[in-house]
């Protein structure tokens, strides 16, 4: 486990958090948050916390993202859901 990898990981972590915060499009920032969750669980795994990493990956990137998307899909106008976005 080289130090470069760890530094890279943390830089990406902070970058993903900034992206989740600053991007104006909600869907993109939800995806950024999901990426952030995965990176965080990698960081936990590096810090020798396998239990925490597993939970973080499964809960934050699985269920919470699903619930986020379920909630977000309802802020669209009624007709938009399920249609192709290119109209």
């Amino acid at each position: 486990m080289s130090m470069y990898f760890v530094v890279f990981l943390y830089v990406f972590l902070v970058g993903a958090s900034l992206a989740a915060s600053l991007i104006n499009d909600i869907l993109s920032s939800v995806i950024a948050l999901s990426i952030f969750g995965v990176l965080l669980s990698t960081a936990f795994a590096i810090m020798q916390a396998p239990d925490v990493a597993l939970t973080q990956a499964v809960i934050n990137s699985g269920i919470i993202t699903a619930v986020f998307l379920a909630a977000y899909s309802q802020t669209e106008k009624p007709g938009c859901y399920g249609e192709e976005p290119d109209e």
Binding site: I26, F44, Q48, A49, V52, Q56, V67
Partner: protein
Amino acid sequence: MLMLGYSSAVVIFCTGLYTIMARRNLFKTVIGLSLMEASVLLVIVTSGFIPGGVPPIAPFRGVAVNPLPHAFTLTAIVIGASDIALALAFIVKLNKHYGTADIDKIRGLRG
């Protein structure tokens, strides 16, 4: 490595706080809460890490990392997840009424 973890946690905490205070969209607020929570988790896990340690699963060779923060973090993750799910449920309900998630357009949430 410890300092790195702590510093990024502080940056992420402040990012989350800023998101809650400055952004005017309810989804952004929830994202901010999620970021703040994640940073606290990072602080807790980092505080138990020992460079060169092994995971706390017996039988271990060498020095194991501190298992107590892991237990706390597990608890905090689940609690945070239920908070966020609840916040999203409220947003869905409000959105049905107002048709928007913009804080400025929802009467009671201004200020």
